[in-house]
């Protein structure tokens, strides 16, 4: 079933017309309501009325995560604070966090694109859905919640964690749809098996997995272990949260809802569009958002795009699975982490030197484990074990407080972290994804 067939299957020429009309309206809207955009357009000599069709988009400037930080909290918003119904905040790097806010219309948009997402994955209004993404400031849980509510599904808002309880709830209520990170899906399969049960007999038939990059082999593993159709969902809080793109039953790319989130694929160095099918950075313009609409937002995610109509009938273009990043962001258990955030925490602790290494791996549990190796220095060394252990604990707590990520802190001997050309290799990602 296709939730919004009239737009999801719109003939390409009509889609372009709709996108163009929306872009023209958007440019005027941000110009009149957001000083940051107005100043930028004025500087570049862009007259809002001159943007008439979607192909004019290349004349507009990019927006980056840095812009969001620089204008924290409300500088990039086009709607006043009292028009916002909900806000979500992600952790900051070394300064401001990223704030996104939704007006009532934006929440309706989010509900709509999430309903499209659940439908695209194969969901039906009669289904029971188990939402095991975190609820709260993270957009995953609430995004799925709104979409399921819009469609009229029966929602089980388990949120993340408490695996045994998740399994019990699955057994008792027989949800057909499971939403969580792909690594957590594998972890659940292991736990079900550990209880002496057959994971293939779980009630889940469809999985909507995202918030972290994953590969085809991982999909095959999840599908064979859980006896489920595993689909990929893409999104980012700056744009809306989950609900930017979703795979259909053919699993041949993720349908991006281009009538509302206009995609461009650019060369990250030159900013120019790449050829159809080539890898590049995904740039998104939110055509209809009201709270914090973004023009040509640089997602830093590397994908390719396919504009051909899909066998499922949708004309919305399909992006590939995320192939990488143009920055050093890493995703740990669905949480975005920049190495600089960890460095900031370490340097805030007296005596700790900036010689550290982040090692990410997936153990037998299939869940991401992060080890932070910190080189011992004369300033922090003590003959008393309890002093050293309390230092380890302090670093762990600070990282938890800033990033909401649980890390193992390991003290290592000086000069044991490889320094290549004076700059240490900060991140060792051993995950096979």
């Amino acid at each position: 079933m296709i939730w919004k067939e009239d737009v999801e299957c719109l003939p390409i020429c009509e889609l372009k017309q709709l996108q163009g009309d929306r872009l023209a309206k958007l440019v005027k809207y941000v110009y009149s309501n957001c000083k940051v955009y107005k100043d930028r357009f004025d500087q570049l000599g862009i007259i809002p009325e001159s943007i008439k069709q979607i192909d004019d988009i290349g004349r507009l400037p990019f927006t980056t995560k840095l812009d969001m930080r620089d204008h924290y909290p409300y500088g990039l918003f086009s709607a006043p604070r009292n028009a916002l119904n909900e806000i979500h905040v992600s952790s900051g790097t070394t300064g401001n966090p990223t704030l996104v806010g939704y007006t009532k219309e934006d929440l309706a948009l989010w509900s709509d694109v999430m309903a499209r997402t659940i439908c695209c994955a194969g969901g039906h209004p009669d289904d029971i859905i188990q939402i095991a993404y975190g609820y709260g400031l993270f957009t995953g849980g609430l995004g799925f919640h709104y979409g399921a509510l819009e469609m009229g599904l029966t929602i089980i808002p388990t949120s993340s964690g408490q695996t045994r309880r998740q399994i019990k709830i699955m057994q008792d209520f027989q949800p057909r749809i499971l939403c969580c990170t792909p690594s957590y899906a594998l972890h659940m399969a292991e736990e079900i098996a550990a209880l002496g049960l057959d994971p293939r007999k779980s009630s889940w038939e469809i999985g909507i997995f995202g918030a972290e990059p994953w590969s085809e082999p991982m999909r095959q593993e999840i599908e064979s272990k859980l006896g489920i159709i595993a689909t990929d969902v893409y999104g980012l809080s700056e744009i809306i949260g989950p609900g930017v793109a979703q795979e259909c039953q053919y699993k041949d790319g993720l349908h991006i809802y281009s009538d509302v989130f206009y995609p461009e694929i650019i060369d990250p160095d030159t900013g120019k569009p790449v050829e159809e099918g080539q890898d590049g950075e995904l740039v998104i313009t939110t055509l209809t958002k009201k709270g914090i609409p973004l023009i040509r937002y640089r997602t830093r995610d590397i994908v390719s795009i396919n504009h051909e109509k899909c066998r499922c009938g949708r004309t919305s273009p399909r992006i590939s699975k995320i192939k990488g990043r143009t920055d050093d962001m890493i995703i740990i258990r669905g949480i975005n982490v920049f190495p600089s955030q960890i460095e900031h925490v370490l340097l805030g602790i007296d005596g700790v030197e900036p010689h550290y290494q982040i090692v990410i791996d997936r153990g037998a549990s299939h869940l991401d484990q992060i080890d932070i190796l910190v080189e011992m220095s004369p300033e922090i060394f003590s003959d008393e074990i309890k002093q050293l252990e309390s230092l380890q604990k302090k670093i762990k707590q600070e990282i938890m407080a800033v990033l909401s990520v649980s890390a193992n802190v390991k003290l290592v001997e000086p000069n044991t972290i490889a320094r290549s050309e004076g700059k240490a290799k900060r991140v060792i990602d051993k995950r096979e994804i």
Partner: protein
Amino acid sequence: MKITQISVFLENRSGRMRQVCSVLGQNNINIRALTVAETESFGVLRIVVDKPAVAIDVLKKNGFTANITDVVVVEMQDKPGGLADILGILDENKINVEYMYAFLEKSADKAMVVFRFEHPEKAVKVLTDNNVTIAKDITV
């Protein structure tokens, strides 16, 4: 009255302890007492040597993280109850022991116990007041 102990940070990696001992041996430094405190991922080697100033220097030159701490070495008769008596004195005077380890003196029938106190001066006073012999050095 206080004796210098050297502590060395060691990762739990094979051969690290040997490397410390080799460095000391090559520099003609004799280890008189030794203990290792370990955790899941690292350990701290604590040693009392005959030439602590030289030892700390060569260890640092060889890339080890090492520091010095004052410890108190107490002499006692090598017989049952010897250590209990000393600990009794400390306990009655509410002196807290951070950690301790023992070694035997080869030339005499004596046991030597290395104590790490939070307040070494106070501990030394209490012990001497109670006629406990504190070693002045351990190079004998």
